[in-house]
Symmetry: C2
Subunit: 121 residues, 2 copies
């Protein structure tokens, strides 16, 4: 079992200081660590959980997550879309209505979260 991830471990770092000076700038090259880190960010699990129930608008999510800031919610949603867990669709009417919906991949993730939940409690 341990060998399957071996190929990732040698890399460890990446980033090699793009423009200016010595910036360690870490990006995990291990997909498992990468996903865990991503999902482990604050509010991620809770937002996905919300979306597993039905689609939501931005402000609607803000309301159901009392303490989140719009900046963080934006970051999370963009991350989800980028990784294919969520679809974003927006009307051009006014006031604008944007909805976020789980994709099939998103549902697979929430199912894994569900198993983790059962295990954890």
């Amino acid at each position: 079992m341990a060998t399957e991830l071996s190929k990732w471990e040698e890399q460890g770092l990446r980033g090699e200081a793009v423009g200016t000076k010595q910036a360690p700038r870490h990006v995990s090259q291990c997909p498992v660590e990468d996903w865990l880190t991503f999902l482990g960010h604050r509010w991620s699990a809770l937002i996905l959980w919300r979306l597993s129930d039905r689609e939501f608008g931005f402000s609607e999510l803000m309301e159901t997550l009392p303490k989140i800031s719009p900046k963080v919610l934006t970051e999370r949603l963009e991350g989800f879309v980028e990784r294919g867990l969520v679809t974003r669709s927006s009307t051009s009417t006014f006031p604008r209505r944007t909805t976020y919906t789980l994709t099939d991949a998103g549902r697979e993730i929430t199912q894994m979260l569900s198993r983790l939940y059962e295990w954890a409690r």
Copy 2:
């Protein structure tokens, strides 16, 4: 599905500035987010993966994880022991020999990581 985690979301924060001033000091009260954050820390997955194969000593782990620092390795191992994923046993001979072994709970976690790995690639 969305209701199972509902009870956690109202809390959001905790910590209320133990001694000095206004420190937001966040500790997730959602067990799923808590575990994801924990497992998402750097090297966590890789260390557990290593231990799923056999037991390891401290320096031995250092060698198989080329870029890790002893501080971080210590932090991870202590976290694992604290959460019951790993058992630590140490001889009193010299030089001292300490070994880290996965518990059953640790194996359950690495199995979940394995599923995530299959899904992710």
